[in-house]
Symmetry: D2
Subunit: 359 residues, 4 copies
Amino acid sequence: MRQNKISFSSDYTKGAHPAILKRLAETNYDQYDGYGTDEICNSAKEKIKRICGCDKADVFFLVGGTQTNQTIIDMLLEPYEGVLAADTGHVAAHEAGAIEFSGHKVLTVPCMREKMQNGAAMYSDTIGKIKADDVRTWIENFYADANHEHMVFPGAVYISHPTEYGTLYTKEELTALSKVCREYDIPLFLDGARLGYGLMSNRTDVTIKDIAELTDVFYIGGTKVGALFGEAVVFTKGFPGKHPVPVIKQHGALLAKGWLLGLQFDTLFTDDLYFNLGRNATEKAEILRKKLTERGYEIFIDSPTNQQFIIMENSKLEKLAEHVRFGFWEKLDENRTVIRLATDWATTDEDLEELFSYL
Amino acid sequence: MRQNKISFSSDYTKGAHPAILKRLAETNYDQYDGYGTDEICNSAKEKIKRICGCDKADVFFLVGGTQTNQTIIDMLLEPYEGVLAADTGHVAAHEAGAIEFSGHKVLTVPCMREKMQNGAAMYSDTIGKIKADDVRTWIENFYADANHEHMVFPGAVYISHPTEYGTLYTKEELTALSKVCREYDIPLFLDGARLGYGLMSNRTDVTIKDIAELTDVFYIGGTKVGALFGEAVVFTKGFPGKHPVPVIKQHGALLAKGWLLGLQFDTLFTDDLYFNLGRNATEKAEILRKKLTERGYEIFIDSPTNQQFIIMENSKLEKLAEHVRFGFWEKLDENRTVIRLATDWATTDEDLEELFSYL
Amino acid sequence: MRQNKISFSSDYTKGAHPAILKRLAETNYDQYDGYGTDEICNSAKEKIKRICGCDKADVFFLVGGTQTNQTIIDMLLEPYEGVLAADTGHVAAHEAGAIEFSGHKVLTVPCMREKMQNGAAMYSDTIGKIKADDVRTWIENFYADANHEHMVFPGAVYISHPTEYGTLYTKEELTALSKVCREYDIPLFLDGARLGYGLMSNRTDVTIKDIAELTDVFYIGGTKVGALFGEAVVFTKGFPGKHPVPVIKQHGALLAKGWLLGLQFDTLFTDDLYFNLGRNATEKAEILRKKLTERGYEIFIDSPTNQQFIIMENSKLEKLAEHVRFGFWEKLDENRTVIRLATDWATTDEDLEELFSYL
Amino acid sequence: MRQNKISFSSDYTKGAHPAILKRLAETNYDQYDGYGTDEICNSAKEKIKRICGCDKADVFFLVGGTQTNQTIIDMLLEPYEGVLAADTGHVAAHEAGAIEFSGHKVLTVPCMREKMQNGAAMYSDTIGKIKADDVRTWIENFYADANHEHMVFPGAVYISHPTEYGTLYTKEELTALSKVCREYDIPLFLDGARLGYGLMSNRTDVTIKDIAELTDVFYIGGTKVGALFGEAVVFTKGFPGKHPVPVIKQHGALLAKGWLLGLQFDTLFTDDLYFNLGRNATEKAEILRKKLTERGYEIFIDSPTNQQFIIMENSKLEKLAEHVRFGFWEKLDENRTVIRLATDWATTDEDLEELFSYL
């Protein structure tokens, strides 16, 4: 049963690429060892290590994004340390306190830089991104403070790529961040819940190998990029502790039938499927933005990825809502609203045509 | 690719009932709202409430067992309270400290009562079960202790049904436990990770309606009984707090594509599928036990459910291991070992035949 | 042995009022029950309840400020709730993550409003204070956000009085805050680590009875106001839970010889000693500020309490540092630094004379 | 005001040795730096290191026992590790879940070995003590379990000396425990809340130097042995992490006026005061036991330290309770009760005389 309206509200409204469903069916009665110790997981791990160009990496698979952020951050930090993040970062704003639940403070850096455009406040293109200099200043101020032993130590830096606003770090920015982190011996963690859509943007110079080289840990989002669920965590220089399994388990994050995760990533990393799915979404987003601009709609954030933020007259919005589901983002002024339209790995030309017919 | 050996090592080695895979494929491009707010979840919840006979229940779906135990227990307890459990209970022994991770002590009641049989120590049939009297005594001793405000308060009682040893509570035992808990205003929580195999034992008088009536919260295990993953939590008298969602989220337990859980339970609770799958495993286990007894094998624990515990000569064990995967349970003496053979929702007569051919 | 320099660096550099030491000596071999169940604690509690004008209050005694903030906030919040505080608040900035350690997020409201004065950025007089409107806006925005169940719920409001910058809430401001909190059924918690210095300011209209009426819980700081250590917690409408003792204990905050706390507060609340000690510090601070202004020093924050923030030329600062210990606060510009000079319950005219001799 | 009855109920019913009160008075208006960074703390630390014979030790001072246990154990453990302790240990039984509050499981070893004596069940002399073999067996079983990554890892061993039952480890036992711990690279932590009474028993061969050599961390109890409050933590081989201060602070355990702790320990470790106070209690306990035995009272546990456990006829008990406060321990049978009588650093011959007059 198809819902009565087409939805561009988010990139997690559909199931999985058919190749995954097919393989689930094919292997349904094969019997696998539990908890990710099976051979499909091993195969997927090897593929990911090869694609990342890091033989020494430790890879494991978790179920969802908040769970992954919470587990990784807890793995990285000493109890007295917090994680430095953009104040717009998912861990800071939209995870119901999952980081604090495991005892750590999220130390925030303001990332909502505004600029004026056509008489309205607009976010700059760097929205959602932490700058290397911000991190350096934060850390230097911290250690310069005579009372810093009474404060929360910076123990890791969290960035999302793409960010929650669809923006991307450049290779130069990422390199600078990595440099600061290494200078202070603080691990850099990249949340790649939408990584496929970042890697396949036509406006990025960052590859997955760059990310593997420049970060200490990142994850490859499956939930939003073609899998039913699942995030592949890559500790690029090897896991920094001794025992990841009990940590994952005590976070309630160890899937019994772990091969279901391995199978999905093994499929996604066969014949470049993950990248092709990523490209579909960003290409469709480019078309979407181009068409909307042609039709006179104003773009709120110039996003190079699958999330597009559009300024809509409220009068038009109500009409659109009769046919299309979209993400309400924020009220811009009395008459205008910012909405989010997200394409995904399965968005078709027909979907776009249907959308445009209502715009 | 089928693994080279047939496995009776556990009940989570296979995928899901084909009806689930079929429905996943059918709905793959339908677009659903996230986080369990979709209509399939609603349908599944209604079916579960009907089957349980409790209109006032609150139902939600989580991904795995440890996650579910941790989240529910944290929902039930005040920070200064612990959960009373059998020392053999999953939460006490095999969850890597997930309960303590969320700040709560597991208060244990010894449940490894031994008896001698044929010159060897054998567990009694009550292994893994808490008695109502044990709970009463524990609580009375607690409050009788002048220092009890310096101790961990009992805030909930956890039982598993079937237990980790395959045993089952009788309706009388469950009623007695429920009575004690209500007397002291302490919620009774039943871990039903293998509930289907308990309900469909031919040696039980406990129905799902009994459980819904006698407990405050329980869950219906999907992972081990026909689903890819998923546990359906039933707060039988309604959720005792205000906001389950942020609690679930901060435990990293809120699945983005929540309808995947709803879809599985909606399928399992259509046309009695869940019960039929449960029956398959227990019937196969009965055959297994009967045949083994006939062939002179000694049964270690007289389990009425899908897990069978067999005493094996070590010499025979090695030979069996060449063809069959099984669960190593414990060393009984120099020459003998206890193994676990688990049937499941998909075990066939052919599987049993193959197994018997090696015994 | 007196240290070689006089110190105005903080208000916790000396022991306790002699009346406390005297009573410690007198009762040294009396034998008291432990953990605050003794008669001196009871006497102190009654005195505090009387002075606060709240018969229904529950009073207990803890050892130090961070411990008290952590314990009270944990008592007030559900696990999925955070505490709203000024970003300058002690719980947000200077407690090493003690609030997050017990699982809760500190939700911050910006309170470093700047103004320009004589060409330099100066803090406004409202520095360190939360406005009722800020709280209202925060809460309304939270509930207006469609995703608020994925965010940290506001579960309590924390204010400090005096604030970390020596400023004070007016009765009007406190009343407005209280009103908003009650409107949303969120408890208001006042950190009174320096309460005596706030109550006895000559520029306040807030009494301890006002505080007892307008807040849900506050504490009367002893450590900084005449006691060796100790904070008296007052739940003005009664303790909201069932068992404060195990919560205090599990926070490591239950003093074995609890009567030592009771004895100090019983002494402080005999013959208005606490208020007299408070007045000494604020009177001395007034003299200090007046003299410094006369001598041409610039006041950085116009504090009506015992902490005075002064702008010093760096050249003069070095000379002063040879004779006096003071608190380094922040670098204002290349040539000037802000320092903190704190008077206390025991500051004498001679102390001030000595200080002035170096200025 | 002296309470109307003499009390032998515990060893924390009185203030402090007069030398401490005297020094508090003498230094009252000296001004010290906060948080334990002062010169008295430094002096005390040096004295303790000298007495322990360990130059490399890191010493710091906390306020109370539960706080100290919680903080040290949290310092020793990885998040997925628990602490191995006697099931009678303070951390296991009487700290309101303070260890679990900081996320760690207490892994218990049964220590209530019973023996029959005169027709009644009696505890053996090893009550409250962990044996090296028990630890070895526990750890070997853990690692032998194929599922141990799903269980709580043993990360530290906790012992108390004297134990909660007044018993003492021999040097041989302590050496054996230390050997096992080092073999498995697990730190050994000794809770010395009553250390002075253990060291000065006339039935011990364990010195403070032995403890410093054989453990990784221990603490010297002040609260129960002559101080108003305070526990001196000794990391015998140096602090194993980087930053103890923020960890202490986030446990709410950093005393603002830290010198109050340093002053007490500096006094206790001047002219052997700590040891003399310890000896007083154990000598008085010896007299107590001898007299009671002479008068036909039965000793329940043969304790070589300041806590004596006596079997009393209930009829006599009531009469005794009219004049003396004592610790109710447990009901032995219908007619008899076990009580605890504790001597302390200040118990006098007159106190004993008064007690004997009622027996």
